[in-house]
Amino acid sequence: MAQFRTCPDTGLYFHKSAESLIKANAVAAAVALLVAGILALLVVLTRWQAVHLLPADQFYMALTAHGIDALIFWIIFFEMAVLYVASSTLLRCRLATPAWGWVQFLLMLIGAVMTNVAIFQGSSSVMMTSYVPMQAAPHFYLGLILFAVGALIGCFIFFGTLVVAKQEKTYDGSIPLVTFGAVTAAIIAVFTIASGAIILIPTFLWSIGYIAHIDAEMYRVVWWGLGHSSQQINVAAHVAIWYLIAGLVFGARPMSEKVSRTAYLLYILFLQLACAHHILVDPGISSEWKVFNTSYAMYLAVLASLIHGLTVPGSIEVAQRGKGFNNGLFEWLRKAPWENPVFSSMFISLVVFGFLGGITGVVMGTEQINLIIHNTIYVPAHFHATVAVGTTMAFMGVTYFLIPVLFRRQMILPGLAKIQPYLFGGGMTIMVLFMLGAGTLGVSRRHWDMDFTGAALGFDYPGMAYTLMGIGAFGGVIGVLGGGAFLLITVGSLVFGKKLEPSAGLLQSFGLPLAASCYSNQRPETLPRAAPLPVEGHGSSSFEAPGTFVLAMVLLVSFIVYYFINWKYLASVWPLS
C-alpha cells in the first residue's frame, strides 16, 4: 500500500518512496556541486594569470573534474529529483517501481564516484569531452556509462509513474505544464543517452584494447549528439522550474497552455538534432548540412526559448497585475519579492540565460561567425551563462523552496539567503562578461598558460586580455563564494535548521523519509484542474503583459545589435574559403 504525507504548508503530497529518492538525489547533487565548486576556485585562480595557482597537470585534472562534476553529476542528479517531483509529487501519484529508483540512484552514485576516482588518479585528464585519440583510464568511461544507465532508468520510472497516474486517475484533465516540461526533458534524455551509449561504449572497449581504432571526427559528431542534446535537457528542465516557481511564488498561470506546450514540443522536435554548431570548423563537414542543422533545427528551438522568455515573465506580470500592481509598465516587477531567494534565483536565471547565454550561443552557433570564437574562452563564458547561471540558479531557487517543504527544516541564515543569489549570480555574470571579452581577443579555453612558458616560439596576448581574464576570475571567485553560501545555507539547514511539524530527524533529512506517523495509507484526493480563468484577461486582444513585452523587445534589440557586430568583426579577418 502506497503511503503518502501532506505538507501542511503547501498541501503537496509526498509518496514515501518518492520522497526518499528525491532527498537522496538532491543530496548527491549538492555533494557534486560542492566538489565542482572547490575545483572551480582552483581552476579560476589558475586562469587568473597573476595568481596562476596550480601546476599544469593539476590544472587539467581539476578542469576535467570540474566540468564533469558540475555539468554532469550536479545537474543530472538534481534532474532525477526534479523528475520524481514532477511525476509523483505534482500528480499525487505513487512512484512506479520504487525499487528501481534505488537502482537508478546507486548506479549513478557508483558511476560518479568511479569517474571521479579515475580523474583524481591522474591518468584521465581528458576533459569532459574526452576527444579521441587521447585516452582515459577504462573506469573513466565505465563510470560515465553506469551513470548514464542509472539516468535512463530514472527516465523510465518517470514515464512509468505518468502511466500509473493516468490509469489510477490521480489527476483531472491534462498533466500540468511543469510535468509536461519534465516529459520533454525526459524524452530528450532518452535520445541523449542513446547517443552517449553509441559513442561511450565503443570508446570504453577501445580503452581496454578491444577495439583498435575510433575515428576522431566520427567521435566528435556522435559525442556532440550527446553533448548538445544533454544541454537541451537542462533547458527544458530549468524552464519547467521557471514555470513552477512563477506558480509557487505568484500563483501565476501560464499565459497560454497551448503556446507554452507547443514551445516545448519544438524542443523535442528540433533541439536534439542541432549538434552541428559544435563542429562548425571541423574538417569534412559540408556547409549545407551545417547551415541546415544550425538554422532549421536550432532556430526553431531558439524560437521556443524566445517564446518561454516571454511567457514566463509574462505570466508573472499578469499575476502581479491581478493583485493590483498595475502602475506603469514595471510596478509588477519592482514589487516582486526580491528578497525571497526562490524568486530572485529564478529571475536571475531567466535574465542571464536569455541575455547572456542565449544571445552568445546563437551568435557563436552561426556557421561563419564560429570561426572567430571556436575554442576560445568565449565558449566557457557562454555556457556558464546558460548552465552555471541558467540551470544551476533555477535549481538553487527550487532547493530553497524544498528545504522546508520536503526536508521539514526551517532555513538557517535567512539574511545570507537573501543575498546569496545576488552574490552567485553577480559574480558569475562578471566572470561571463569579461571572459566573453577575453575570448574575443583570442584567449584560448582549456589552457594553462597565457604566457606560453617553455614554448619554442612565443606569442604575446595584448595586455587587455590579461586584464579581462583577471577581472573575470575575480568575478568567478565571488561566484564561488556565492556557491559556498548556497551550500552552507541549504546543507546547514538540513543539520541545524529548526525542525518543522511533522518533524524530521537528522538522518531523515539526508535521504530517509520523515517519521512513520506522518504517513497514512489514504490515497490523496484527485488533483483538480486549476480554477477557471477569469473572464477578461487571457486570450484577449489587448496586451496583458506590456512590461514583459518591452523587456522582450530590449532583448531582441540587444540580440540584433550584437549579432551584426559579430558579422562586422568577422568581416575584418583574413578572407577564407
Binding site: 576533459m127 576527444y131 497560454s256 547551415v291 561563419q368 570561426l371 584560448s444 589552457h447 578572407p575 577564407l576
Partner: protein, 178 residues
C-alpha cells in the same frame, strides 16, 4: 498555482492565443529567418567562409607532403623549426603534433594559398592570433583552407584544443610579408 496543476480548461488547446503572444512569436520567427538567410548570404557575398574541402589521410601520407613542402620551399630556420616561403597560389602544408606547428610559414600579403592542415597524433586547435581565426585539426583528416592574408605582420598559431601536458607550449608562427 496553476503551472503545476492541470489546465483549467479541459480543452486547453482550443483556448485562443492572446494577441501579445502571437505578435511576439511572429517577431521572433522573423528574426530567426533573418538569421538563417544571413548564412547563405555570406556564402555568396561574404569573404570569410569555412572550407568545404577535406580529405581522409594518414599521418604518414600527410607528413610526407609536409616534408616535401619543406624540401622545396625552405628559406630559413627559427628556434629549430624550418621556415618555408611557398609560391603564391600554391598548396601549403602545415602539421600539428605534440607540441608543435610544423613548419613556420612565410606568406605574401594579398596572395591566396591553399593551406592544408592535419594532425599527426591527437586533436589540436589551429588558432591564428591576434587575427583570431580558429579551426579544428583532427587526425586522419586533411582540411584545405583557401586563405588570403590581407594584413602584414607576425602571427602566432596557438593550439586551442587541449592536447595534453605540453598544450600551452604548442605555438607556431606565420609571417605575412608586404
Amino acid at each position: 498555482m496553476t503551472s503545476f496543476m492541470p489546465p483549467a480548461d479541459r480543452f486547453w488547446w482550443k483556448v485562443p492565443v492572446g494577441r501579445q503572444e502571437i505578435v511576439w512569436i511572429l517577431i521572433a520567427l522573423t528574426w530567426c529567418l533573418i538569421m538563417f538567410f544571413m548564412m547563405p548570404y555570406w556564402h555568396i557575398y561574404g569573404k570569410q567562409n569555412l572550407s568545404n574541402e577535406a580529405y581522409q589521410t594518414t599521418p604518414a601520407k600527410f607528413g610526407a607532403k609536409v616534408q616535401e613542402g619543406i624540401d622545396q620551399n625552405k628559406v630559413g630556420e627559427e628556434a629549430g623549426l624550418p621556415i618555408i616561403h611557398p609560391p603564391a597560389g600554391s598548396d601549403v602544408y602545415m602539421l600539428a603534433r605534440l607540441w608543435q606547428w610544423w613548419p613556420i610559414l612565410e606568406l605574401e600579403k594579398n596572395k591566396t594559398y591553399r593551406l592544408h592542415l592535419s594532425s599527426m597524433d591527437w586533436q589540436h586547435g589551429f588558432s591564428v592570433q591576434p587575427i583570431n581565426i580558429n579551426m579544428q585539426v583532427v587526425p586522419g583528416y586533411e582540411m584545405v583552407l583557401t586563405v588570403t592574408p590581407d594584413q602584414a605582420g607576425e602571427y602566432g598559431v596557438v593550439c586551442n584544443e587541449y592536447c595534453g601536458i605540453g598544450h600551452h607550449t604548442m605555438v607556431g608562427k606565420i609571417y605575412v610579408k608586404e
